[in-house]
Each structure stands twice: as structure tokens, then as C-alpha cells.
């Protein structure tokens, strides 16, 4: 150091040391920073996916090799060697040709660059000068001559070029001729090895070679990395950021690399193929990746590429635990939209399909929405697109003539004690009204409600003159005729419908006279009921009545109704009166009421309080509005706006709605709430599947911006189709029939009990292209059996004209029929043709099964519909298609195909010169002719 003594504040050496060490640490931090920036989890997934693809390709290659016909391959190799050998003798010739080609190429190049192109440029320049000179009014004759001569010259050059090119082509052709044999063999070999070569290329592409590492190396990967973020930009599904809409960008496929690739169905996550590639993501599916993307259905942050920040949400605790271990997952916080747990994803369909009656490919969601209607959720809660529907519960307008007061009190007090499968939810004896005081109050409320209902009920008298019935036969009829399509009963375990009430204890509820009258004609009691007439004989009806009346719940019958205390009732009335009249005023008001008036007063208040009119028609509440919160965009409500009370639930939408359905009153836990302000939502006693279905439907109710052109069911025929589907849902057509290949729920019983499915109600898959409109209309108005061998009956519904026309329109439009759907065109048969057709008809033995007017086959159990009705019932085009391949039109059809596809081994080769199409048309024309003649 220096040689002078100076004043120093610090020791230089210490400072240097500190400086050195801190700089080192800074350097390490900078390296750490760069490494962290480079090392991102998604890159690792892409590398893993390359490995996966590679190992799969290696396996496929082995398989491809084993598929090669090696005998042929060896032969081709020999051929190739031979051809190469042969070529040796032509070496001189080839050399000569190659020389010639080189020379010609040179000449062509020269002719182009030295002669033609400069001249062409000169001509263009001269033309410009010519135009300029003309503009300036100069003499241009000389220039014109020059241009003309130049053009001539250029023509000569072009000719020269053309000649040269021809010579060159000849040489090429000569060379190809000489090599043709070798090239052919090579082409054959390549064709044979095409798969093998493709896979080899794939293996190379997915190998970690030197180039791979250089391209993806830290600090070099900005040049041309192979590991890259992948994304789709969804211009037609913008994301609404309130102030502006921004493009939705989904980058999920950065890690979910195989989501749209076939062949990774069993790969480990995140590399699994989408389980419904035909429906989603696939390029030919209805929801292609580049149009729909991922987040519109699954939710989550599309732009994020980290496991946690893209807002994965697990299905359950177990998955959460797994994710925490495997991916370091944390519950998403402060995220635009979190993902829906996979089991609720169907809910998202509502974003675009919300106006549709059912969605078919979302069975859980369809079920959930159906339950929201049939269980009465929408009676209290307003839900977009589920408004103005038939009330879930029976009408109480004439309850006096149907039920005993005592029954109603016991029933409402605890519906499950009457029948565990009952749909009526439990309002009383719940967690927030089971203390002694609340019990007394609820009893008083219940008593007043019943008093009110009976006071406001019209009279009704059923037919008391029913014949005596047989329980055994009633049971058989009940099971076979189709009651089970809507009603459940505990005698049948193979199928349990819940569209209409469960009848397992109906004998404890109704009188025999009522049941008998109701079965014979439901509209006698309730003109608006959806219950159809089953056209039973008096005896059958009496049998069913006897059976149903035998279904009693003894324990329930022996129970006594809850006893209400008038003092408690008066207290309750005062709590309603106090805010209006003050304490003293309330007392005076109360004193002015007699006992009946008090019951009526409290009954009316309680009905309003519990919102009974949401599900039941009640006199005096015809226009009352549902008492629940609107749920139309509940799924996008902020979690912070949900009142979790003091429950220790996780603060998520799914946890809330699950808990609400499990025990709606638990949110009053620990709270001090006045009796009349406590939570009122009843307990629906749902089974886990139904609960999950409803949760799915509720979570799907969101406020998401979707442009009109992306919304299904509102374009073209959509609204007309939806009208028909509404009727189908309202009358539970799918309880029996398969429509759009969904529903037909009663088939469950046939399958479980091993009954031939061809005895089940028909599949209405192609009904629109099959049935003539007039016949369809008449049939729906006046149902009569087409298939007399079926036990199950198509009942007679009370349909309005509008319902019928909606349904028929629906079926026709669905099958692409053209309005007005009525054109019937058939051919005319000549005498000769008629003879042939008749013979063919006999040969095919159609009458073995088909009814033919009055000619009925011996064995009705294998019979088929009346052929004489064909002309009025079926559409001609459909008949031909049906004859060709019934299986295609209706899977499982009993009708065999006589013209097996594709090998046309017809059993009737001799008619119409073996032209099978002609044959089928002739049969059709014959049937139409016969029908008309009769």
C-alpha cells in the first residue's frame, strides 16, 4: 500500500473482506435468480411427455416391424440389388446423359440471363419512355420501331429457351427410364416401410440429443427452443373483465400435452387424453379446442402455467392431499375463476346450453336440473331458464276431499316417518327448531297451516262404487302396465322412478274410493294434473286399487298427530302483530279474533313463512312469489358473500351448497336468532348421487359472458326443438321412451330382471322421419295400442293441441324433415312387378311375425306391428331404410335385415334382377297399395 500515514475511518482489509463476501453472495443470488427463471415446472412436463412419446413410439415401432412381410421385404431387397447391378452396365450412358444435362442447364441459364432478361428489361424501359414521350407530345415513331424490333427479338429468344428446355426434359426422361426399375423397387420398399419410417422420425424428434440441449439450454433458449408454451386464443369466447373484454387465452395444453391426441387414454396425468375426444377438444368434435378451449368449461386461469396459479381444485380431500404431495398444491386464492372440481364440470354446460331443456351428454347436470324442478327447488328459488314450470307438489285446492286432517299433520310433521322415499321435504324437527320452545311453536304453526288449508279447500267426492279387486292381479298390472315409469314402490327394487310420488305407503294416505277414481280418471279430481289415463278396465282399476290400498305403513298409522297448544299459537300471533300494533295493540287485536280466526291468521302467516305455495297450489296464494334467494348466477357469487355462519366448512361454493343440501339449517348453528327469522329451507333427504347432481346444476349457474353466436338452442330450429323437449320433460316421456338415445329409464327394470328389451317401450330415435304427421297427431290425441303384445301401455295424456304440435314439430325437425313434414311419395307397381313383389313377400315370410289386418300370427309374444297400417302410419322413405338395415335405425330391433350389408347375399336374388334397392322399394309400394286398397 501507500507509503503515507493517513486518517482512516475503516480498516481496508476488513472492508475488502466484507465487500468480497457480499459480492459473492450477490453473484450466487443472481445465478439463483437466473436458474429459477429457467427452471419452470411446465418445462419438466414437456420433457417427461417427450420421454413418454418416445417410449410409446419405440413400442409401436417394434410392432410395425413385426407387421412387415419380411418374405416380401427380402425379395424387394434382392430386387433392388439386382436393379442396381443392372444399372452398372448402363453407367456410360448415364454419364453421358448427365453431361448432357449439365451442358443444357448451362445453356439455359445463359440464354435466360444473357439474352432474354436484359432485353425484357430494355423493352419495359422503352415502353415507359414511349408513354412519356407521347405525353410530352414528342415524335415517337422511331421509338416505336425500336420496341417492335425488340419484341421480335425477344420472341426469338423465348423460342430458343423453349427448345433448350425441351431437350433438357428429354434428358431427364431418359435418365428416369434407365433408373425406373430401381426407383420402382425403392418406392415399393418405402411404401412398405412408411409406418416404420414415420415412427423412426417420431423417435428422433422425441430424443434428447445434443441439438435438443443446445436449443433448450439456459440463456440460449430464447433463440429457438423446442420446449415452448402452447396456447389457444379464443377470439369468440372473450373473457369479461368488467371494464373491457379481453381475449380468452388457454395454455392448459402446455402441460396437458396429449389432451387432444388419441392414444394416451391410460397415460399418467397430466398426459392423459381427454376422455371424450369425440365430443370435446378433438378437431372434428362439436367443441374443438381452437373454438372452445378449456377454461370455459373447466374454469381456472387459462393464462397461468403453474399448478397452483392456474387454480386447480381437487375433487375431494384425498385428491387435495395427493396434489399437495405431488405438486405442492395450495388452495387458489384471489383468482378470477377457480376450476370446477372434475365431478361438477358438467355444470359448465349451462354457460352455452342453459336455454336447452336437456343436454344429453351431461347426464348428471340433466338429472340435477330435473331434480331442481321435481323436488321443488325452483318453487322457492328463482332460476334462470327454469321458470313458469308445473309446481312440484300436488294441488291442495281440493285437499279436503282427498286427505284426512290428521294424516296431513302427521305427514308434514315428519314426512319420512310415513315414507322414507317421499319427496316432501322435512320442515320440522330440524337442527334449528328442535328445542322445546321451537317444537311447541312449530306444532302450533303446523296445526294452523292445516286448518287454513282445509278452510280454503273445495269439496270433492270420489266414486264409491268400485268393484272388489284382487291384490295379486293388481300388483301384476301395476308393475307391467307402466306405472313404474313415474312412480316408485318398494315392492320393485329393479327400478325406482321419482318423477311422481313414491307409493310404498299409499294405503295409509288415501281412501280406496279416491284411488279407484283417480286411476280411472285423474282429471276428475284435478283437471290440471299430468297423471295420464291408462285405459284400465273397471276390474283392472279395482285390482290396482286393492294392491295400492294394501301398501300401508302400520307404524305411521299408529302414530298420533302432534298436539298444538293454543297459548303458544296466540304468542306466535302476537309476534306478528306487535310490529304493526305495538304490544298493547297486539293484545287487543288478538282478543278481537275468535279461535278460528286465530288459526286462519297464523296458518296464512306460516304458509307465507315456509313458502308452501312454491310447490303446492293453495287458495289465496295463487300469485305469491317464491321465498328463496335467486340462484340464476349463484355460481359466480363471491364466496365472501355467502354466509357460512359459524360452521367450520371450507369457504368454497361447492362446500356451501353441499352443506346446504345436507342440512340446510346448520348455518343457524350457535346463533341467537328469533324463531320467525330462522332459516326455513327444508331438508330434502337427498341421496348422495342426487345431491351431487343438484350441486352440479347449481354450481353451473353462473354469470359468464358468452356471445350469442356461441349459445346453443337459440339459432335456426333451436327454439322450436326446445319447445318440444319441454313437453317431453313435462310429461316424462323419457321415463319410458329413449329419446335422443337418452332416457327410457324403465328399461333399467327390464335389464335387471332379464326381460327381453324388445318388450320395453320403443326407442323414438327416428320418430320424425318414421311416422306420418297426421297419424302421429291422431295417435297422440287418441292413443291406441300398436303392439298388442306389449304389457306396458302408452297412456292417454291430457295434451293440449299446442303440446302435440310442439312434440311433432320437434321429432320432425330433429330428423331433418322439411316443413310441413307431410309429403308422401310412393311408386306404382306394374302388373308384373306386383306379381314379383307378392312372391317376394311370401318368400320373406313377413307374416310370420307381422299382423296383417285381421290375420294375427299364432305367437303374439313375437308379433310385430300391423302391415296394413303402414300406409297411414309410416313415411315411405323410412320404410325403405328400415328394410335395408333395421339395426342402424333402432339398435336391438327385432326386425332382421334381409339384405345383409355389405356382402349383398340376398335371400331373394331372383326378383327384380337381384336389384336389392328395387326390391325394397317394391315391397314398400306393395304395402302402401295394400293398405289403401283395404
Amino acid at each position: 500500500m501507500a507509503d503515507f500515514k493517513d486518517e482512516r475511518a475503516y480498516d481496508s482489509k476488513t472492508l475488502t473482506k466484507v465487500f468480497l463476501w457480499s459480492s459473492l453472495v450477490l453473484l450466487i443470488c443472481i445465478i439463483w435468480m437466473i436458474w429459477k427463471d429457467y427452471n419452470r415446472p411446465w418445462k419438466n412436463y414437456q420433457r417427461q411427455f417427450m420421454q413418454l412419446q418416445r417410449s410409446m413410439a419405440v413400442d409401436q415401432k417394434t410392432e410395425a416391424i413385426s407387421d412387415i412381410d419380411f418374405v416380401k421385404y427380402k425379395q424387394l431387397r434382392l430386387d433392388l440389388a439386382q436393379a442396381n447391378n443392372d444399372l452398372k452396365s448402363h453407367e456410360d450412358e448415364i454419364d453421358k446423359l448427365n453431361d448432357q444435362a449439365a451442358k443444357l442447364d448451362n445453356q439455359i441459364f445463359k440464354a435466360k440471363t444473357v439474352n432474354y432478361q436484359p432485353l425484357k428489361a430494355q423493352i419495359d424501359a422503352d415502353k415507359y419512355s414511349y408513354a412519356e414521350a407521347n405525353k410530352d407530345g414528342k415524335d415517337t415513331t422511331k421509338l416505336n420501331t425500336k420496341i417492335q424490333s425488340e419484341i421480335d427479338q425477344a420472341g426469338a429468344y423465348t423460342q430458343q429457351l423453349f427448345d433448350l428446355q425441351q431437350q433438357r426434359d428429354q434428358v431427364t426422361k431418359d435418365l428416369a427410364d434407365i433408373n425406373s426399375k430401381r426407383d420402382d423397387v425403392n418406392a415399393n420398399i418405402n411404401k412398405m416401410l412408411a409406418d416404420y419410417h414415420l415412427l423412426k422420425a417420431k423417435i428422433d424428434k422425441n430424443s434428447f440429443g445434443f441439438v435438443f440441449y443446445v436449443r433448450n439450454a439456459m440463456l440460449l433458449d430464447f433463440l429457438s427452443p423446442t420446449i415452448q408454451i402452447q396456447q389457444v386464443v379464443l377470439k369468440n369466447l372473450p373473457e369479461d373483465l368488467y371494464f373491457a373484454k379481453t381475449m380468452r387465452v388457454d395454455r392448459c395444453m402446455t402441460c396437458h400435452q396429449a389432451i387432444d391426441k388419441k392414444g394416451f387414454e391410460n397415460a399418467p396425468e397430466p398426459f392423459r387424453t381427454h376422455p371424450h375426444l369425440d365430443l370435446y377438444v378433438g378437431p372434428t368434435s362439436q367443441h374443438p379446442m381452437d373454438k372452445v378451449g378449456c377454461t370455459i368449461c373447466h374454469g381456472g386461469m387459462g393464462q397461468a402455467i403453474d399448478f397452483t396459479t392456474c387454480a386447480h381444485v381437487p375433487n375431494d380431500e384425498e385428491q387435495a392431499k395427493l396434489w399437495k404431495e405431488k405438486y405442492g398444491w395450495e388452495a387458489p386464492e384471489g383468482v378470477q375463476s377457480t376450476m370446477l372440481p372434475l365431478k361438477y364440470t358438467e355444470g359448465s354446460c349451462l354457460k352455452c346450453h342453459g336455454t336447452q331443456e336437456f343436454i344429453n351428454n351431461a347426464p348428471k347436470l340433466d338429472r340435477g336440473r330435473e331434480l331442481m324442478v321435481t323436488r321443488g327447488c325452483v318453487g322457492c328459488h328463482k332460476v334462470k331458464n327454469l321458470e313458469g314450470l308445473t309446481k312440484a307438489g300436488p294441488s291442495l285446492i281440493r285437499v279436503k276431499g282427498k286427505l284426512k286432517e290428521e294424516f296431513v299433520e302427521k305427514w308434514v310433521w315428519d314426512p319420512k316417518s310415513y315414507n322414507a322415499a317421499a319427496r316432501m321435504p322435512s320442515f320440522f324437527q330440524q337442527t334449528n327448531n328442535s328445542d322445546d320452545e321451537a317444537l311447541a311453536k312449530t306444532k302450533a304453526e303446523l296445526h294452523s297451516i292445516v286448518q287454513y288449508l282445509y278452510e280454503h279447500s273445495a269439496n270433492y267426492a270420489p266414486n264409491e262404487n268400485a268393484p272388489a279387486g284382487s291384490i295379486a292381479n293388481g300388483k301384476k298390472v301395476f308393475k307391467e302396465i307402466g306405472c313404474l315409469a313415474c312412480h316408485g314402490i318398494d315392492d320393485v327394487t329393479s327400478h325406482h322412478a321419482d318423477f311422481a310420488p313414491d307409493l310404498s305407503a299409499i294405503g295409509s294416505k288415501l281412501s280406496a274410493a279416491f284411488v279407484y277414481t283417480w286411476i280411472k280418471n285423474p282429471r276428475h279430481f284435478n283437471p290440471d294434473t299430468r297423471m295420464p289415463v291408462l285405459r284400465l278396465t273397471n276390474q283392472e282399476a279395482a285390482d290396482v286399487t286393492a294392491y295400492l290400498m294394501s301398501k300401508k305403513n302400520k307404524t305411521f298409522d299408529e302414530m298420533s298427530a302432534p298436539q298444538a297448544d293454543p297459548a303458544v299459537r296466540d304468542d306466535l300471533i302476537q309476534t306478528y302483530l306487535k310490529p304493526l300494533y305495538g304490544i298493547d295493540g297486539a293484545k287487543t287485536q288478538l282478543a278481537q279474533m275468535d279461535d278460528k280466526a286465530r288459526e286462519q291468521y297464523l296458518g296464512q302467516k306460516s304458509l307465507s313463512k315456509y313458502g308452501c305455495f312454491g310447490c303446492h297450489m293453495i287458495q289465496g296464494f295463487e300469485t305469491a312469489q317464491g321465498i328463496g334467494t335467486e340462484l340464476s348466477d349463484w355460481g359466480t357469487k363471491q364466496v365472501g358473500q355467502l354466509d357460512f355462519g359459524t360452521t367450520d366448512l371450507e369457504h368454497t361454493h361447492e362446500a356451501f351448497v353441499n352443506a346446504k343440501l345436507e342440512n340446510p339449517r346448520q348455518f343457524d348453528k350457535d346463533k341467537s336468532v328469533a324463531f320467525q327469522d330462522r332459516l326455513k329451507m327444508p331438508n330434502f333427504r337427498l341421496n348422495p348421487e342426487d345431491k351431487e347432481a343438484i350441486v352440479t346444476a347449481v354450481l353451473g349457474l353462473t354469470k359468464t359472458y358468452v356471445p350469442d353466436d356461441m349459445i346453443a338452442g337459440i339459432h335456426g330450429n333451436g327454439p322450436l326443438l326446445e319447445k318440444g323437449r319441454r313437453v317431453i320433460a313435462n310429461f316424462n316421456c323419457r321415463g319410458c321412451h329413449l329419446i335422443e338415445d337418452q332416457g327410457g329409464r324403465i328399461r333399467e327394470m327390464y335389464e335387471k330382471e332379464n326381460i327381453d328389451l324388445s318388450l320395453a317401450p320403443p326407442n323414438l330415435r327416428k320418430e320424425g322421419s318414421k311416422i306420418q304427421v297426421e297419424w302421429f297427431h291422431d295417435f297422440l290425441l287418441n292413443v291406441h295400442p300398436i303392439r298388442p303384445w306389449l304389457h306396458i301401455h302408452m297412456p292417454s295424456f291430457h295434451w293440449s293441441d299446442e303440446d302435440i304440435s310442439n312434440v311433432i314439430t320437434y321429432f320432425n325437425l330433429k330428423d331433418d324433415q322439411v316443413y310441413p313434414f307431410t309429403t308422401i311419395v310412393t311408386g306404382q307397381l306394374s302388373a308384373n312387378e306386383l306379381t314379383q313383389t307378392k312372391a317376394m313377400f311370401a318368400k320373406l315370410q313377413c307374416q310370420k311375425c307381422h299382423i296383417f289386418g285381421t290375420a294375427v300370427p299364432a305367437d303374439l309374444s313375437t308379433a310385430a306391428p300391423d302391415l296394413l297400417q303402414v300406409h297411414s302410419r309410416l313415411k315411405p322413405d323410412w320404410v325403405v331404410q328400415w328394410l335395408m338395415n333395421p339395426e342402424a335405425l333402432m339398435p336391438g330391433a327385432r326386425m332382421p335385415s334381409f339384405w345383409p350389408q355389405p356382402d349383398d347375399k340376398s335371400p331373394v336374388p331372383h326378383y327384380f334382377h337381384g336389384d336389392s334397392e328395387k326390391q325394397r322399394e317394391a315391397l314398400r309400394d306393395y304395402l302402401f297399395m295394400l293398405g289403401k286398397a283395404n
Binding site: 501507500a2 503515507f4 475511518a9 427463471d37 408454451i229 393464462q303 403453474d306 396459479t309
Partner: protein, 276 residues
């Protein structure tokens, strides 16, 4: 063979100049001199030259009070505030390359910085640096107060310091909105709501209702200082661009100017304070 090679290498080493000689050759070469204009600063002359001839160091005096250069005295907080300001300037400029102050893009540009922008960590450095700067400035003021360094002749520099403190808070506050998330938007909403209550200038402030002509309020929700600040009745896209310009252009320029004055006055007022 090997021995020969070894010998050769030794020879070359023997012939080559010593490290000191190399150092000298460099330090006295034309290139070095043209840049630094002085030798290695280990003599008084060179030390003086080091400070005087360097544009970055010339803020300093050549010599300073011994007591003043002690860390325990200054805590280096003023210097750190300045360092953080520079650091924020650099990261801020980098961020401007990736950030668009519009409602469509602002939020997702920040998401992009978090998710995949190379060295998107600069957003973290910028944000934490800003917090650190606020604290550093407070501590700097605290230190200056505790050592009584605002006393004559440094009164005016203290005043500038107070303004710089306010500027620092303003920089941080305007920047707070830019991520355009709920945190940002509502913090700014809460923070700017007070402007509505400015006496006479905010429409919910005392006296504003008295400024009227013919019964028409001149200071109303659409004309008060709150509206001017936000470019609307509420925090909206207009606020975003306003705060962006304030944050990136206006306030930094004011800050830089005042800082220059602040530093200059430190020198002119006698350098780091010390007992008389």
C-alpha cells in the same frame, strides 16, 4: 520430449513480465489514462482525482468528516434510498416493455410477468424495492432528525427532504394501482376517496356546496379534484392511464430534480453534519 516442453514453458514464463509490471503497464497505458485520468487510487493525489474526475463519484467531496462517514452515524439510509430509487428506475423501465396500461391487458400482463416472462422477477424486485424505499426514506428522516442535522445551515435541505418523502409515497401509491387487481383497485379507491372531502375542492368537502352560481353547484361529482385525479367518478380505465403517466413520467421527473437539488445542497451546506 516432455522435459523439453517443460523447459520451453519455463522459459516463456521467465521472459514474461511480472504481474506488477503488467499492472503498471495497464495503469499507465494510454487507454487507462484516457478513461480514468489518474492512477490506482492509493495515493492522496490519486484519491482526490478518483473522486473529482468521476462523474458518478463527484457528488462527494474529496474529503469528509471522519465522524460523518461512520455507518453508525449515517446508517447509510440516504444512500440506500437513492440506490433503491435507481433500482426502481431500472426495473421499472424493464417492466414498461411488458406492461400495457389498459383494462384489457394490464392485469394479464402482470399475470404474464408472474407466469412466464423471462426474468419476470423484476416485478417482485420493483414492488419490494418500493416498499423498502418507503421505509428507507422514513429512517433517513428519522436519522436526520435524531442527529439534529436539519439545524442551520441545513434547514432548506430538510424541507426538500420532506417533499421527497411525500414524493416517495406518491410514487408508491400511483404504482399500487398498476397491477389492476382487486388489491390495487380498492386500495386506490380507499386512498383517493379522501380527495372527495377536500375543503372547497371536493364535492363532499366542507364549503364546496357554498360555491355556486344561481343555485348551480360548481364543485360537483363531475368537476371536483377527486374527478380530476381519477378521470371519472370511480377508479376506472381512465384512472389507470392517469396513474401510469404520473407513476412513470411526472413524479419520477420531479423526484429526480428534487434529488439533484437535495444532493447538491448536502455538499453546499457543508457535507454530512457533525458537531461544531
Amino acid at each position: 520430449m516432455l522435459d523439453k516442453l517443460k523447459k520451453k514453458i519455463d522459459e516463456i514464463f521467465a521472459q514474461s513480465p511480472s504481474p506488477e509490471a503488467v499492472k503498471k503497464a495497464i495503469a499507465e497505458g494510454q487507454v487507462w489514462k484516457s478513461i480514468f485520468r489518474h492512477g490506482y487510487p492509493d495515493t492522496p493525489r490519486n484519491r482526490v482525482m478518483a473522486v473529482l474526475s468521476n462523474v458518478f463519484l463527484h457528488l462527494h467531496p474529496v474529503k469528509a468528516r471522519h465522524s460523518g462517514v461512520k455507518m453508525s452515524y449515517t446508517w447509510c439510509m440516504g444512500g440506500l434510498s437513492f440506490f433503491l430509487f435507481l433500482n426502481l428506475t431500472v426495473t421499472g423501465i424493464l417492466l414498461m416493455f411488458y406492461y400495457r396500461p389498459t383494462a384489457e391487458y394490464a392485469y394479464y400482463d402482470i399475470v404474464a410477468l408472474r407466469e412466464h416472462v423471462p426474468l419476470g422477477i423484476m416485478r417482485e424486485i420493483h414492488r419490494w424495492g418500493a416498499h423498502a424505499m418507503v421505509i428507507a426514506v422514513w429512517l433517513h428522516m428519522f436519522r436526520v432528525f435524531m442527529t439534529g442535522s436539519y439545524k442551520p445551515p441545513r434547514e432548506f435541505n430538510w424541507v426538500i427532504g420532506v417533499i421527497l418523502l411525500v414524493i416517495t409515497l406518491l410514487l408508491s401509491f400511483t404504482g399500487y394501482l398498476l397491477p389492476w387487481d382487486q388489491l390495487a383497485m380498492w386500495a386506490i379507491t380507499v386512498g383517493t376517496n379522501m380527495a372527495r372531502a377536500t375543503p372547497f375542492m371536493g364535492y363532499e368537502g366542507p364549503g364546496a356546496s357554498m360555491i355556486q352560481i344561481g343555485g348551480v353547484h360548481l364543485v360537483n361529482g363531475g368537476s371536483d379534484i377527486h374527478f380530476a385525479l381519477l378521470g371519472g367518478h370511480f377508479v376506472s380505465e381512465a384512472t389507470l392511464i392517469r396513474f401510469y403517466v404520473l407513476h412513470c413520467v411526472v413524479v419520477p421527473i420531479v423526484a429526480a430534480t428534487l434529488m439533484a437539488i437535495h444532493f447538491w445542497r448536502v455538499r453546499k451546506d457543508g457535507g454530512i453534519s457533525g458537531p461544531l
